[in-house]
Symmetry: C2
Subunit: 529 residues, 2 copies
């Protein structure tokens, strides 16, 4: 079932002779499948097919696109347990996580299907003509969102399903009417091929044009670079490291025609512990965070890597409990030896910084590729003076910053880089008096949480998964939820256009019955003509 | 009344010793006012004030922002005829245009006032908690648009009011809740100072924070560079040349924290003449276009610089009539000697290209800084092989491309750079059979026009003024109409946040009565709790 080949549109293709294998971190051994890297010619072909497919796919109705998206979900389900087995063998993640992530992936595809089938998402806006207006007659103008063009999606190492081949970026782009070329993640390329086969089957079943989807293998950077620089490509979605995301952003910005790169990158997701909350329930908070820090071996983009509080008896009790609790958690396996290696290196670098004290580190030896969790602490002043400590250590690592007072706490927050999330742990009314702290935190994040944990990103329309740089390259968009479609569309106006030639979304009769803004009023009624 | 100084927030300031004067192109002489360039310290101070102002201004209610925007409009009106006189002396534009542009500027400010007062624009979205959901409870999430941060606006040479100091970009950013620093256009810096004084008065009257607006003089590029590179600045609006816009885009992309640059740049706005239309009314079309090409001395971003048709008797009659009609138009004054000089140079360069034939050029000598209109023609093949001819000649210049057949016409369209607009001139039902031509044109533009002219950009919500690069740096946004506010906002989510601490837009009671999406339904009702 796994061929190791690329999908150049519907065509299975392996013209190259460079191959690679994925790795099972639990077994600490290579997986059996031999993946063939896409050649420059195959990349070129995928880009040309995507541009050809765009001509029809961008004009495919919401109903048809919904059928396609639902068929993808069905075909992924039809892959059955074998998909989960390959997923686990390429990620080391447990079966429950595999099932949960598959469920989420199917849910995302079906959410987008519902969204484009309903059709309101095009933001249709109509201003009718006023031929009698003086001194200049008003023309008829009608606007809606249209697909941007072929989109390249880079899969994420830590979400082989939900943020990869047919994950959120792909679902959003396909829903928008954009053909997608996936640069498969080399750590889970076999999982990727299986999912790609499901997408291709779904495209054939629902008569989508050849080239609406391609899947390219690559263990290096050349395929990705060629894709981002290709003039046919009009946008890029990426989930991964700051280094990787920034490199793609820079490439795209240097093109003759720059294109948008929406990269969702690193985050340390600061947690602010307010004094009364610490006073009343330091131990409970510590237990909650011992779990959140180690969840999924700390390999979530919303992992709480930074905990901030003002020195107090409560903070001391929090620290002591966190140290006790964190070592009770059984270490788990990381995604890949490279990721385990990077964790060890970044952790070691953080621990070497002056003033950093280890609170607790898992004491026993661990199996290969398993991560020993560590919590550390540092003085507020030390943290402020050393930006190395502001950077993500991807894995089960967190640093507790002990501030002298609330002024220093506010300063620390305001000096942080952009983050996906920020969390306030507060007693009922305590937050009411901390306006400056909340405002400073809001300024650095895309989502703010009251008395919760940042891990666990609910997929729903009101989710903002994005934030100021370097959390993402463009805080004006989200990577999760149906509004993420906005990354891949542009508004388009028709002036004095014949009614019968307008897209259905803009016709007088409103045949789709969608919500539109007509001369300033929101309505799903047809227009009186 | 004109001091020649900068506004660093409310403070009139002229710490530097570098000065410049503006120029009256009609009199071919310098204007009397001496403008003092902003120093690096003044730029720094404006950026710091803007960041401080952002803390409160970003949280100012829509009602209060509306008062501020309306007060700006009133204060600009209160400048009376003197504003028009200074405008004319710095642009050479006629009084009717000055009045029209002022009216448009006031209209934009008041449109944004209405828009933010109504409040629906924040796209409020609420998904309520489901604590009983299995296996994981659903948290309460609420999302709305918030202001991005301090914005820098670069004024346009060709719209001293509507796209400059208190023009569309400034109105959009202020409406969003972003403080604005204007880098005043050096060709109309005195007009700019007058308008800036109106903005500052309005800010004081409506108790807006100091730093919500600054206005900086500069005749060089240093002030603009310093602004775009300043870490406090979070977005840039620009209207002008491709060279200028791209330089700012590149600077912003190279920052440690890249920021969005929305640059509206060059466009040649192709006109496609279909054969039946030419057959039936070549002469009328030519007369209409002789006017559109020369309107405002060809200094509109939507000026029709390219006319495309298939060789036919009709096209020949069109060409002949256009040649006769264009020279009947009395040449008018350009904005500045530099712009007149650039027009002459670019025109000469276009005329030197092999295969370019002049159809007509205004035959008489003209007054200084006045532009002699020119229409030219070229074969389709020649045009395809020479991209120099694809670039804008800013001024009353147009090129008629005579294609061999419809296939070549479609190829020419598909090879064009991105454009603000495209126009189809068609007989009633003729367009129905030209699917490929329309599709190709739609792919290259942001607005498509049926049987009209691209000049005259209606300011209304359904206007898309933007398009694929190089028409703009990001086709996902518009520069005209209230939706242009989206350039300067980002979505923000509150998770499990206490109701009383939420912004009014997201409270259960919906105190503002705005339209919101609550659990998937669009409603302006309060929530049942």
């Amino acid at each position: 079932m796994i061929t190791g080949k690329n999908y150049i549109g519907q065509q299975i293709s392996a013209q190259g002779n460079k191959t690679f294998k994925t790795f099972n971190p639990l077994l600490n051994a290579e997986n059996p499948w031999k993946l063939t890297e896409a050649t420059a010619e195959e990349v070129e072909e995928a880009c040309n097919l995507a541009t050809e497919a765009y001509k029809t796919y961008s004009r495919t109705s919401g109903v048809q696109k919904a059928k396609f998206l639902r068929a993808i979900a069905e075909e992924i389900e039809a892959l059955g347990d074998m998909l989960l087995e390959v997923y686990q063998s390429e990620s080391g993640l447990p079966n429950g996580r595999a099932r949960g992530e598959r469920k989420r992936t199917l849910g995302q595809l079906r959410d987008f299907a519902d969204y484009v089938e309903a059709g309101d998402w095009v933001d249709a806006s109509i201003d009718t003509a006023q031929p009698e207006r003086h001194p200049i007659p008003k023309v008829d103008l009608r606007k809606m969102n249209i697909a941007l063009g072929p989109v390249v999606v880079f899969g994420a190492s830590n979400f082989p399903l939900a943020f990869s081949t047919a994950g959120g970026d792909t679902a959003a782009a396909l829903a928008a009417g954009c053909p997608v070329i996936v640069k498969s993640h080399p750590m889970h390329a076999a999982t990727g091929e299986m999912v790609a086969s499901a997408v291709i089957k779904a495209a054939q079943q629902t008569s989508m044009p050849n080239g609406v989807f391609s899947n390219l293998n690559s263990s290096g950077i050349e395929v990705g670079q060629q894709l981002v620089l290709h003039p046919n490509i009009k946008a890029v979605g990426f989930t991964g490291s700051i280094k990787g995301g920034r490199a793609l952003y820079d490439l795209a910005a240097q093109r003759k025609e720059p294109i948008p790169v929406f990269a969702e990158m690193g985050s340390i997701n600061p947690i602010v512990l307010l004094p009364n909350a610490l006073h009343n329930r330091a131990e409970n908070i510590a237990k909650t965070y011992a779990n959140s820090i180690t969840l999924g071996t700390g390999q979530f983009c919303t992992n709480p890597g930074l905990i901030l509080g003002v020195k107090s008896d409560g903070l001391t009790r929090f620290i002591n409990t966190l140290a006790q609790e964190i070592i009770k958690v059984e270490p788990t396996c990381m995604l890949h030896p490279n990721i385990a290696g990077a964790y060890e290196a970044k952790k070691a670098n953080a621990l070497e910084q002056q003033g950093v004290k280890v609170l607790a580190t898992y004491p026993e030896e661990v199996k290969p590729n398993h991560a020993r969790q560590v919590v550390t602490t540092v003085e507020g002043e030390t943290f402020l003076n050393n930006t190395t400590l502001h950077h993500e250590v991807f894995g089960p690592f967190s640093i507790v910053v002990q501030c002298e007072d609330e002024t220093q706490l506010e300063t620390v927050i305001s000096k942080l880089e952009g983050q996906l999330t920020g969390t306030i742990i507060s007693d009922e009314n305590e937050i009411n008096t901390k306006y400056n702290i909340v405002a400073a935190l809001q300024n650095r994040v895309g989502r703010i949480i009251f008395n919760g944990v940042p891990t666990g990103v609910e997929v729903c329309p009101s989710m903002q998964h994005g934030g100021p740089y370097p959390a993402t390259t463009d805080s004006r968009f989200t990577a999760v939820g149906v509004n993420s479609i906005k990354r891949f569309v542009r508004p388009f106006s028709f002036q004095s256009w014949p009614n019968e030639l307008l897209p259905d979304e803009l016709k007088n009769e409103n045949p789709l019955g969608i919500l539109r803004t007509v001369n300033g009023k929101t309505t799903n009624e047809p227009m009186n003509q």
